[in-house]
Symmetry: C2
DNA sequence: TGTCTTGTTGAACCGTGATTCAAATAGGTA
DNA sequence: TACCTATTTGAATCACGGTTCAACAAGACA
């Protein structure tokens, strides 16, 4: 028998197992047994904690998004210079490669969002948070006279997030000539135009 | 009994039925019976034409992409002025709303591309064709002295396609403040920066 | 220690979707 | 007209995934 755990611990395990299972089998195509196996439990145990599987899936998506966002924040937290901060933020929004689990899950979500309002809302919320994040960097840089913004900060921020998203999809789909490095360069190229800064990585 | 049809005709019907069924139930979640019902046939008849359902799904995705691309080409075919052509092309790459069937299918495909190489290749091919399309417009405009390109044409073209894609996802996910009109404006805002043209719609 | 609560199992059950195939039938052809 | 072939049906079968639940086991606690 699998080790007995507290309700809270087990739920965390299950959320993680669901995340992994969805990445392997798709957000819609995933089965209860696959999640159970991923968690090292039987299907009955999963149902005991989540009588409605959809709740688990939503929580798993939510957790995946949260994790993705937190990681980004963490990566740029120590950087003071707005230009370096912008460069690092752009990099942190892209998958590390076609197998990147976090971004794979987000892409799954994108496909399902058209049919599922909850998923749509989750994605929309993430988008808006990322836009705010960029906007803060842009306005800080502008206030310090480092950036000369060619468009209003919300437009630039939205464009940056949109570009990350789209190149993320390209990388996940294994585009032959767009990998993480090329994507960073493409986005930076726009960012230079929009900020008037040369944005050279240190 | 459903009307008897030739092999070729029936396959076309089935491809169309599969497209509609996938939009309703997801690229992965779709069932044989749903496709059969959509086509007004029984499951046996579907299997008669497509013993392996995956082949039908791939053909349906392919047809959906082809249709999307052809529609775009058609919409801009009569326009000579590069600026107007660019504006119209941008508009034609976005969904008409959250229910837009063509784009919904492409979004489905994006989610599945991480797990399915064939789907990844389909999407990548479409991306590249769209990039070429924009590149031609940009270079024609530059050659005529109408556009003053701030980046090389491939970079601009890739950025434009990426923005279309990303805002397409936002619209499908029902972002509260980004609809087709706002998306066009956001993309045009970048296009102005990149082409040095004011790009006013006639 | 014994009891109580709670998490977990495993088997049984049910519904559903895929698959098979003999029979029926529509259309073409001689 | 009668025959032939390709298409479609509908029922039977199979496999599998979700759901239920009685029994069991692991801690918690007195």
């Amino acid at each position: 028998m699998a080790q007995r755990k507290s309700r809270a611990d087990r739920r965390m395990d299950l959320i993680d197992a669901a995340r992994r299972a969805m990445i392997q089998h798709g957000a819609e195509g995933v089965h209860l047994n696959q999640i159970a196996e991923e968690a090292g439990l039987t299907s009955g145990a999963v149902l005991y904690h989540y009588p409605d599987l959809r709740d688990l899936l939503i929580e798993a998506h939510h957790a995946g998004m949260e994790r993705f966002y937190e990681q980004r924040i963490k990566k740029v937290s120590g950087i003071a210079d707005p230009a370096q901060k912008l460069i690092t933020t752009i990099r942190s929004g892209l998958p590390e490669g076609p197998e990147d689990a976090g971004v794979r899950l987000l892409c799954e979500l994108g496909g399902a969002a058209g049919r599922n309002r909850v998923y749509g809302t989750l994605l929309t919320t993430l988008f808006d948070r990322q836009v705010s994040m960029y906007q803060t960097i842009l306005e800080t840089g502008a206030a310090q006279g480092i950036f000369t913004l060619a468009q209003n900060s919300e437009t630039i921020a939205r464009t940056l997030v949109a570009l990350e998203d789209a190149y993320g999809y390209r990388i996940i789909a294994r585009h032959h000539s767009i990998g993480p490095d090329q994507a960073v360069e493409l986005i930076l190229d726009y960012a230079r135009l929009a900020t008037g800064h040369e944005l050279r990585p240190e």
